[in-house]
């Protein structure tokens, strides 16, 4: 019996993603109790739908953080905003230009990723400062490009981001599939194993013959392109881009990664946890809304949960 319990604890310790789902479930349970079960399922599906945006940028931030200490992407909000405005500008409310708009959004990300990699690898600027500086520049480019005015998204893309069929948000389904692909790539591909190895020890990875600079470049490029995609989809979802739409993603992208069970020190990723953590953060907002609690307490609870989950999961 004792050994079985020990075995269970060992298994739990190897499944760091479980905690975020457990916490999300508890918060959802609290909401169900408060609303006496009315609309319990729709509440969850809306939370998952909004969580999708956190997950998209979270995948990129997770790969970057997994590549080792000091690696972080703070250009995410800037990419999202500029990509959102340029994608909307390209679509201009026409389905014919949908694909071009999405491609422009991703291209903004790709260009940013290349600049990030050059700053980090050629000029050896610390990633936190390099990506922050790039994010600042993108934000002013977005101001110059748009003057704060956004065009409207292609109707088909707006429908895709908001569509919920019998309580299942379609966009979330698509990105659950993407998440599964990312998990498989991390586990099975050379690139994925390289990311984990570089995160554990860049020197050992180098001595083992892995391409360390190429791997690092890869995670920053992926993160930036996913941010571009997220900015495009978020703009479509909201009916247009806005200058402050990226702001919350700066810190939330990190929170989602860490709450999901990924090791902030790198070398170990918890892909599944992204969904639990992102849904948890959305459900907290919903819970305190239905309890008619103000924004102040909402932030305090969010902060306490971030520290609490971290302290428990350790």
């Amino acid at each position: 019996m004792a050994t079985r319990l020990m075995g269970a604890r060992g298994w739990l310790a190897r499944q760091p993603w479980i905690w975020s789902y457990l916490a999300a479930l508890i918060v959802w349970g609290a909401i169900v109790v408060v609303v006496h079960g009315h609309g319990a399922i729709p509440t969850l599906s809306v939370a998952v739908q909004v969580a999708t945006f956190f997950v998209i940028v979270g995948i990129g931030q997770m790969l970057v953080i997994t590549a080792g200490p000091g690696n972080i992407d703070l250009s995410i909000p800037g990419v999202m905003v500029l990509a959102g405005f340029m994608a909307m500008g390209t679509m201009n409310g026409s389905d014919a230009d949908l694909a071009a708009g999405v491609l422009i959004g991703i291209a903004v990300g790709l260009a940013t990723g290349i600049v990030n990699v050059v700053l980090i690898q050629v000029f050896t600027i610390p990633p936190m400062i390099g990506t922050l500086a790039v994010g600042f520049i993108l934000q002013s480019l977005a101001i110059a490009y748009s003057g704060g005015h956004s065009q409207v998204p292609a109707p088909a893309l707006a429908r895709f981001t908001t569509l919920i069929v019998s309580d299942v948000p379609i966009m979330a389904v698509v990105f659950v599939a993407v998440t599964a692909v990312v998990a498989t790539v991390l586990r099975r591909s050379v690139f994925g194993r390289s990311v984990l190895a570089v995160g554990q020890s860049p020197r050992a990875a180098y001595l083992a013959g892995l391409r360390v600079p190429g791997t690092l470049a890869g995670v920053y490029l992926i993160s930036a392109m996913l941010s571009g995609l997220a900015g495009t989809l978020l703009s479509a979802y909201s009916g247009g881009a806005s200058l402050d739409m990226g702001e919350v993603y700066l810190l939330m992208s990190i929170a989602v990664v860490v709450l999901g069970g990924t090791n902030i020190a790198g070398g170990q990723a918890a892909v599944a946890g992204l969904w639990g953590a992102a849904t948890l953060l959305d459900l907290i907002v919903t819970m305190l809304d239905v309890m008619r609690v103000g924004a102040g307490l909402r932030y305090v609870v969010t902060g306490v949960i971030i520290i609490g989950v971290l302290a428990v999961a350790k």
């Binding site: 936190m128 520049i137 110059a144 020190a265 932030y299 902060g303 302290a311």
Partner: protein, 305 residues
């Protein structure tokens, strides 16, 4: 010491160049009142950067200093004016919060980036609970202190010099300062030499808390009102200021004088654009460009690794 001089030389030259452009465009700034106006809002940045430097000295990072300034700002605009004793107690609790945070990070060996990220939400939430909408009244003594005009040297410059000198003395010249920097550079050696790492980290976080309180009070004095979201930008600005000023994220390498110079650089990028008639929309670009320029040049000066 030679290496430290080199680290601070680059940002110092950058600052001098920026001031030169401003003086050339608008010679009237080159006066007691001109400099006071130009640099007034450097006081909260300087305090925030000094606080961030204490955390970076431990090879940690503080993602919550900005909202912490907001919280102090809101305490100053509510409790400190209505019930001064309660207000002072609340400010002491804020500092205690930082000390506890340092202890928690050390004892449970948690990543500082996540704990301070969580704390940033707590500070912002508490600030909003105290002051849901901007407003409130800041005590008269605080606004008086912020508009104090000392003879000879304008107040913001005096504050910068005092913070830089105190930081330089306490962290770089005292033996316990060496121990504190050891937390970030060689914690095992510090422990073997018989020093408590826990106490050292709590001291660094406590110092950051005190500096954060001073920054929030300076902000309250300048704005003469409270706003729960006013401090948000100071988190990243403070990190950038410390690193531009010559510090490293890892290894307990910090330069107190550099942090103050970095804070002035980050502040002046905004004014510089106004003086050369560029739209303020480009202010963030200017800050980003200066970050890349100073750090890129620093690495180039050091040569390839």
């Amino acid at each position: 010491m030679g290496a430290a001089r080199l680290r601070v030389a680059l940002p110092a030259v950058a600052l001098a160049l920026m001031l030169a452009v401003i003086f050339w465009q608008q010679p009237r700034v080159m006066s007691y009142f001109g400099l006071t106006l130009l640099l007034n809002y450097s006081m909260p940045v300087v305090f925030a950067a000094a606080a961030q430097m204490c955390i970076i000295a431990a090879s940690d990072i503080d993602l919550g200093i900005g909202p912490f300034l907001s919280l102090v700002n809101c305490i100053a605009a509510t409790l400190l004016d209505a019930r001064p004793a309660v207000g002072v107690g609340a400010l002491l609790l804020c500092v205690a919060g930082y000390v506890v945070m340092g202890a928690l990070i050390h004892v449970r060996s948690l990543p500082s980036i996540v704990v301070t990220l969580g704390a940033s939400f707590v500070w912002l939430g508490l600030a909003l609970l105290l002051l849901p909408t901007p407003g409130g009244t800041v005590p008269a003594w605080l606004t008086d202190a912020s508009s104090w005009r000392p003879s000879l040297v304008p107040l913001p410059i005096l504050v910068g010099i005092v913070v830089a000198a105190l930081g330089q003395f306490l962290l770089m010249r005292t033996s316990y300062g060496a121990v504190l920097r050891g937390v970030g550079s060689n914690p095992r050696a510090i422990e073997r030499a018989g020093w408590s790492l826990l106490a050292a980290r709590m001291t660094l976080y406590g110092a950051a808390g005190v500096l954060g309180v001073l920054g929030g009070l300076a902000l309250a004095g300048l704005n003469t009102s409270g706003d729960a979201t006013v401090g948000g930008q100071y988190t990243l600005t403070s990190i950038a200021a410390v690193i531009v000023g010559g510090a490293e994220f890892f290894g307990g390498i910090v330069v107190p004088v550099g942090a103050v110079v970095g804070a002035w650089i980050m502040l002046l990028t905004g004014s510089l654009l106004a003086f050369v008639n560029v739209s303020s929309g480009w202010q963030l670009s200017a800050q980003g460009g200066i970050l890349i320029l100073v750090l890129g040049l620093r690495r180039l000066a050091r040569g390839p690794r």
